[in-house]
Symmetry: C2
Subunit: 418 residues, 2 copies
């Protein structure tokens, strides 16, 4: 069969699955998720055996040890997959919620009901646990998935998909709810991205290169999760001990994440007092500083920051530091260099706090809190499929609600248009 | 200058305009909209003179009279533009609304604030009044626009844009808030669609061909308004006089609109009683019927419906009629042939009404109301930029809220990630 038809058939299978899910109750979906968790644990040895094949092939191909690490299904990761499935089962179901309902002068009632999106295409790289994780969130929100994992994980993914589909069949739901593009052919991704009208949304999970390829080639809307170049601005009226804790946490608590701080902006009025303290603490913690001229006057250890550094997502113990004239200067810097993921102001000044909240155009804008707190769990969304730096459909942490859309419902009593 | 750079410069001008709008108050925006309305009326003769140039050229090129009609700025249309601008000024401002706000166990407050999207690209065809109409809605929601009208209306559009920009300058806002791609070069549209990161959203306004070209070529999210193949299903438990009024209204009240009924589905249990009455009434009103076999047995006047007819948006006094076994059969038909715009069930049966509401996957699903009521004004949204048949970002009637997005705001007191 040609690759085009093969991918299309899988997508149509998912479409039929999506239609069946429109009738599924929360209880049914939760039973399936629980039975998927049981299946994952019951098939542990099989999953590991299939995973071994992928690892052997990856070694043969000379893939990096980081890549092989991401690929490996350890006992811990298998346990985590099962725990994740059960956690999603325990979350409240977003589907069916009537977001708002109002009455019109002619007596008809109009409302917005939260409903599944339909078929969500997930395109991901080497981590096979994404197969269970992404599926669980989409399914809970009533969506079928069309999965396309990394070719290096194909045996592991096929085995996991087998377990998930068996649980669906056991609950009387079509296996097509979890459809898997079981081919290493790279053309399959391009075919998937052209299935407008069958696939409703594409979520790429992986590095910037993958996301860019998907965005540039998709005719289907894409929920993107780009890089995080996050800023903390320490205002002249900051509580400096608080600023120190927030900045230190934002940079060092887990530097490899998208919500870690990459650039610290400091008002010139307090730079002389604040920078020696915090930069010494960063330095002691192994953080390398790239500073503007004024920063380097205060802290000689800092290397000079070049302009391109300010665009950089280091994901590492490296920090840009820049002394700014005032908050407007800081906001200009953010408007130029930010990836509009998360920005924080540390201040006790009410007027500037309110202006920063309103005028900074990022997915999350914070006053007196660490950028590291921008996260579905920390925000109380329950689960997170990613953090969108886009503005369309979803922005910032995406939970189950972002995997739904709304439709208008009208309860009439015979109304017609006059 | 190369077309690529020209379009990019206009877009960057709009981007700067968008940033300035982040600080604009509702009062400022309303003053600008009112002054735009005054400008349109004051410049009436100039607008008509510029419009004459476009009409003369259109005649020379031999454009159809329907096209020339759409292009023409009559006094009435100029008045309507001014009225529209004032109406939008009077609507509540969606920006700044905090949609929800909650507290986390660590004491930080998390909320979602409604904010402008940024720069919205409007690509439209021959009607020059779209220039003022689309701009007013985008501007009220805090967005800058990048306008690309039909080349046949370029003189009219340039003149209208001149009036709008003058009003902005008068209010101390940058003229770039309304940016206009003042060239008939067709390549300009393609360049516009590649400006990811500068333009946030594209709204095409026009026929299916335009929308398809835009969707297939855009790297920027597109808000689409495709065709409406809308259905009314008359259930076996319908109140038949009510069903007759709803069906008649849905088809004939204004047949050229996207929310008019194109196919009527009738439960076989009541077809014998219902069809003779309604089809006679349709026939008397000049509606041509294309019926399934059973319909033709009951109503000999009907022509046979071919399968392709069921996909058709007639926008005319033509109606498909099909007798179905039951509601499931009707829902199967809808799932196959609908454009998922608007569907209605007429029934007094509670169970089937609830199932239809939940299981039909269209932008608006109605019980006992005419499909013609799916409209921003009728729903009480205040104004409408279109009706989305997409599921991402906006679905169904799009008002001012659909021209905004939300961002997370966090009010902290020094919270860090543990």
């Amino acid at each position: 069969m040609e690759i085009k038809d093969f991918v299309r058939d899988r997508a149509i299978e998912a479409r039929k699955g999506a239609r069946a899910l429109l009738r599924a109750t929360s209880e049914q979906k939760n039973r399936v998720l629980t039975s998927m968790a049981e299946g994952i644990l019951a098939m542990r040895e099989d999953l590991k055996a299939e995973n071994e094949k992928d690892i052997a092939y990856a070694r043969e191909k000379g893939l990096s040890s980081a890549m092989i690490d991401r690929l490996t299904l350890t006992d811990k990761r298998i346990d985590e997959m099962a725990v994740g499935l059960r956690e999603v089962a325990a979350l409240p179901d977003p589907v069916g919620e009537v977001v708002r309902m109002w009455q019109r002068p002619n007596g008809m009632t109009v409302g917005r009901m939260r409903v599944p999106i339909g078929v969500i295409g997930i395109i991901y790289e080497s981590r096979p646990n994404v197969t269970a994780e992404a599926t669980s969130l989409c399914l809970k929100a009533g969506n079928a998935v069309l999965l396309r994992g990394g070719s290096e994980a194909i045996n592991s993914n096929r085995a996991i998909v087998g377990v998930l589909r068996k649980a669906l069949a056991g609950a009387g739901l079509p296996e097509g709810v979890v459809s898997f593009i079981d081919t290493p052919d790279r053309q399959a991704v391009m075919e998937m991205l052209s299935l407008e009208g069958i696939v409703d949304l594409i979520i790429p999970r992986g590095g910037e290169g993958l996301i860019r390829t998907v965005t540039e080639n998709s005719r289907i809307p894409v929920l993107k999760h780009y890089k995080g170049v996050c800023h903390v601005f320490v205002d002249r009226d900051a509580d400096l001990p608080m600023a120190e804790e927030i900045c230190f946490n934002a940079k060092t608590q887990r530097p490899g994440t998208c919500n870690a701080m990459e650039t610290m902006l400091v008002d010139e009025k307090i730079a002389g007092e604040f920078l020696p303290l915090i930069l010494k603490r960063f330095s002691d913690a192994g953080v390398k500083i790239r500073g503007c001229e004024k920063t380097r006057e205060i802290f000689g250890e800092a290397e000079p920051a070049e302009e391109k550094d300010f665009y950089n997502e280091y994901l590492d113990l490296i920090l840009n530091v820049k002394v700014v004239r005032d908050m407007d200067d800081a906001m200009d810097h953010i408007a130029t260099y930010s990836s509009f993921h998360t920005e924080t102001i540390v201040t006790e000044n009410y007027h500037r706090a309110m202006r920063f909240l309103r005028e900074v155009d990022s997915a999350a804008v914070m006053v007196n809190a660490s950028t590291r707190l921008h996260d579905g769990g920390q925000f109380g969304l329950g689960a997170e499929i990613g953090i969108s730096t886009d503005k369309i459909h979803a922005r910032g942490s995406m939970g189950l609600e972002e995997l739904t859309c709304t439709k208008f419902i009208v309860l009439g009593t015979g109304q017609i248009r006059e």
